[in-house]
């Protein structure tokens, strides 16, 4: 691809010809504030924070939408630009609940961060705020549209990436709002991509509520345990509990997840989890879902007892019927290491090739 030379804040750099001015600024290591831009989505140009001055163009233009041209001279920060940015931020905040103390997003909120860095305390433009009745019946996404700044990221990701288009801009003027058709309850794939790209607290996970924000939360990068795609995920852990699942933008899956990957994590802390070895006390011929409950069928045992029991029974059967009377099914849920050891257990420990897993199912 052709490279173009452009000058930003006095720095001359080379960028590919399809780059935007914002891309170029990034290349030059210059931070330009923005709320609506997302690198994985088509440019929007709505928040107006990324405005820059370009020699030869009489008015400020948004750097996220402006393609570079050869020899372009860009200034990203002047008194006038910073004034405009401050006005824009004040305007956004004048229509925002500003309830950061109780906001799920506090500490991880782009709007909050910008308000902080521009030192906005008083608001010259204080006025009417949009008040909406909450009516989201879905169990996954919390949509607090009063916090929505209409950056359009959720609309774009739902359409461009997810191919669903469950939401769009509606109404006009100050009443403009992002919502599902006819303001019905959200009915979509619940992938939560919109949550992932929302720069404010307008969209959050319902399950996240009151489980902890940043303080005391540890992040662990790992891999999703559902389908074979193997999306990279980050587990947010607090008090030995996974409180949230996210995916980073720079992962190979570009930060995109599906409903299961993003919201299907609470099984980890399910009260149904097995916590002790169990040994059968009742004959197996009894029906599967015994009405008397499982306590009649199993008793808890120590690991030592369980291991002993297993070793002696397997040894017996092996002696009596031969190794090939024993079969093992390993798991596509388990790790490579565990699978390796499982087949080794069957082959080297038990002495049979009767080992398989659910690849066919």
């Amino acid at each position: 691809m052709k490279k173009l030379k452009i000058t930003i804040d006095g720095k001359t750099i080379e960028v590919p010809e399809n780059a935007t001015v914002l891309d170029a600024a990034k290349t030059a290591g210059i931070a330009v504030p923005t709320l609506c831009h997302h690198p994985k989505l088509t440019p929007f140009g709505g928040c107006r924070l990324c405005i820059v001055e370009i020699k030869g163009i009489p008015r400020p233009v948004t750097s996220c939408t402006t393609p570079v041209s050869d020899g372009m001279e860009v200034t990203t920060s002047t008194e006038q630009l910073e004034n405009l940015r401050k006005t824009v931020l004040e305007l956004i905040l004048s229509d925002h609940p500003n309830d950061c103390m109780v906001c799920e997003k506090a500490g991880d909120c782009t709007l909050q961060e910008l308000a902080y860095s521009y030192g906005i305390r008083e608001n010259r433009f204080a006025g009417e705020r949009r008040i909406y009745e909450k009516k989201d019946g879905n169990p996954f996404l919390e949509r607090d549209m009063e916090k929505c700044i209409l950056c359009g990221r959720c609309v774009k990701i739902c359409d461009e990436v997810q191919g669903v288009g469950a939401i769009d801009f509606t109404y006009r003027g100050f009443k403009s709002k992002i919502c599902p058709p006819y303001e019905k309850d959200l009915d979509c794939e619940f992938c939560g991509q919109c949550v992932a790209v929302c720069p404010t607290g307008a969209l959050t996970g319902k399950q996240w509520a009151l489980k902890g924000r940043q303080r005391g939360v540890r992040e662990v990068d790992t891999v999703c345990s559902y389908c074979g795609t193997g999306c990279n995920i980050t587990l947010h852990v607090k008090d030995n509990t996974v409180t949230r699942v996210t995916s980073k933008e720079d992962t190979w899956n570009e930060g995109w997840l599906c409903i299961k990957g993003r919201f299907g994590y609470t099984f980890i802390n399910s009260p149904d989890r097995l916590t002790k070895p169990l040994i059968r006390i009742k004959d197996r011929s009894s029906s599967l879902n015994s009405s008397n409950g499982l306590d009649d069928i199993f008793r808890e045992a120590s690991w030592e007892e369980a291991f002993d029991h297993i070793a002696s029974r397997l040894s017996d059967i092996k002696t009596k019927h031969g190794s090939d009377a024993i079969g093992g099914l390993s798991s596509a849920r388990c790790t490579n290491e565990e699978n390796y050891i499982f087949q080794k257990l069957m082959r080297a420990g038990v002495g049979t090739n009767n080992v398989d897993h659910c690849a066919r199912l």
Partner: protein, 535 residues
């Protein structure tokens, strides 16, 4: 998987997910990608936004059809006829890749002759896909030199699954659409680590790294590596073990993290078989439907509670990291397995999961270059034989395992069970977006269960009207093997004469109804077609 490996040398996806973006034709057959592999579907949509054209072949109007240039709405189990028909058109219109065929393949003429009967008209009769649609799809695929084929269980879960795969392979070979970037054949893995479990040798016929147990020199290699003598008897597949248990040949089973009562076909038969075992151990995180039948249940750990690696569908080995402590006395699976092995007289001692993968890399060089250290930065796609090897994004860049790949003539055979006077509907099964596999995890996630916690059967509006079935009404579906009571969901997603039940719901599982007939070679059951009746 077995089918693909026999032809090209490996059963894995030949491309990377990233490469989807560069494809100009995406041919999805027997894969409900948007629901079963949503994030891969995102890539396909990205390609679509860049101008790629999408062909979808499926008995159901799956969500990806929204993006399809061509939708081949075939009758369940008629894939071979459809694919052969497409190949036939490509040949007759001269859209095939002669250079590739001459240089890299064998058996072309013979195979070509086998296609003669598969005219678009004939194919229309078998598949229900109009001849114009067949021709259109053939032209789309045939004119592309950067096409990717994607399939999942919709291809493999048939008695003719291996043949289905061969037919798909023929199509790629015919057009030379394999062995290049953004060009290839891609079976999408349904589970997080099916690839890894297969790689690691949890297959009855191969040791780790697909090294055949029936070859003495291989067996000797492993005997030497593991310091033990190994059985030369061929093992049984999972789908063979269950009948073997029923027949009393298998006396004991050890199942780690699987739930065959829900996921295997013909559930009643599965339960009966497991009940016949003398001894049955299940190691799991929940007391699953299968675990409830066990003699001993061992509490183990989930992915968030342990370190290790998963290998995803594109052969990428990625690091799994421990985030939380397991509940109660639950133990990590490695230590459980090592303990039992020791008590059976074969001591295994690894001080960390990494030590295991190190040994794995020694017996299978394809992952020999992968270390945890390297994985800290990002996953690595095998083959990766050395520490400085970057991994392999797409397979067969430098040719196939054998010099030439062979075209295999595949005759069309009808499914094992077809409709008759009594069982007038075809049942096909699969997943939905919200639940996962046997549901042991997702059904314990409250919001998911709240949103999608009720089993349902999809039935075409025409059929519903004829049988006077209302949306949401509970109806009885029965096959020769069992019956379920299930809520009707009236939708044109399914065609008239076909119904669909997702596999996830144990209380009304599709697998109470499904047929346990197996593909002769891959031993995969025919989940995707069986005959049922309503009422």
């Amino acid at each position: 998987m077995a089918g693909l490996a026999a032809i090209f040398g490996s059963g894995a996806m030949t491309n990377s997910i990233r490469e989807i973006e560069g494809m100009d034709i995406i041919f999805i057959i027997g894969s409900n990608t948007k629901e079963s592999h949503p994030v891969i579907a995102n890539r396909m949509i990205k390609a679509f936004r860049k101008g790629a054209k999408i062909i979808v072949a499926d008995p159901r109007r799956v969500p990806m059809v929204r993006f399809a240039e061509s939708f081949l709405n075939l009758k369940p189990g008629t894939d071979i006829a459809l694919i052969n028909g497409i190949a036939n058109v490509i040949i007759s219109e001269g859209l095939y890749n002669k250079e590739f065929i001459d240089a890299k393949t064998e058996g072309f003429e013979e195979w070509k002759n086998s296609l003669k009967d598969f005219t678009p008209e004939h194919v229309e009769k078998i598949t229900g896909v109009s001849k114009d649609e067949v021709i259109k799809a053939a032209r789309l695929y045939g004119n592309s030199r950067n096409a990717g084929i994607f399939y999942t269980m919709g291809i493999t879960q048939h008695v003719c699954g291996t043949d289905n795969v061969s037919a798909v392979a023929n199509l790629a070979m015919l057009t030379g659409n394999i062995g290049r970037e953004s060009t290839g054949i891609n079976p999408l893995r349904g589970q997080n680590n099916v690839q890894g479990a297969s790689d690691a040798g949890c297959l009855p016929n191969t040791y780790p790294g697909y090294q055949r147990v029936d070859l003495p020199e291989i067996r000797e290699k492993f005997e030497k590596a593991w310091g033990v003598s190994l059985s030369s008897n061929p093992g049984l597949t999972a789908t063979e073990m269950i009948p073997a248990a029923h027949a009393g040949k298998i006396k004991a089973m050890y199942i780690m993290g699987e739930n065959p009562v829900v996921t295997d076909p013909n559930a009643r038969h599965t339960i009966d078989s497991l009940k016949k075992l003398d001894f049955f151990v299940v190691q799991d995180i929940f007391l699953t439907e299968t675990a409830q039948l066990a003699d001993v249940v061992l509490p183990s750990t989930c992915f968030a509670e342990k370190d290790g690696t998963f290998s995803n569908t594109e052969r990428k080995v990625q690091r799994v990291r421990k985030a939380v402590e397991p509940p109660g006395e639950a133990r990590d699976d490695l230590s459980i397995l090592m303990e039992i092995s020791g008590r059976l007289g074969y001591k295994m001692e690894y001080n960390s999961p990494e030590a295991v993968i190190r040994e794995f890399g020694q017996v299978w060089p394809a992952i020999g270059g992968i270390t945890y250290d390297r994985l800290d930065k990002s996953g690595i796609q095998w083959p990766c034989p050395t520490k400085d090897h970057p991994g392999t994004e797409y397979l067969y860049k430098d040719g196939f395992a054998k010099d030439r790949v062979r075209f295999n003539a595949v005759p069309y055979t009808s499914p094992a069970e077809t409709t008759d006077k009594e069982y007038t509907f075809v049942l096909t099964t699969g997943r939905n977006l919200f639940q996962y596999h046997s549901g042991s995890m997702t059904r314990r996630v409250e919001p998911i269960e709240k949103h999608a916690g009720v089993a349902y059967v999809e039935i075409n509006p025409e059929d519903a009207k004829r049988l006077n079935i209302k949306n949401g009404e509970n109806i009885k579906i029965s096959s020769r093997r069992g019956a379920v009571e299930i809520k009707a969901r009236i939708t044109s997603t399914v065609s008239a004469g076909t119904i669909f039940i997702p596999m996830h719901y144990a209380e009304a599982s599709a697998n109470i109804l499904t047929n346990d007939a197996l593909d002769a070679r891959a031993k995969i059951p025919e989940f995707k077609v069986c005959a049922v009746k309503i009422g």
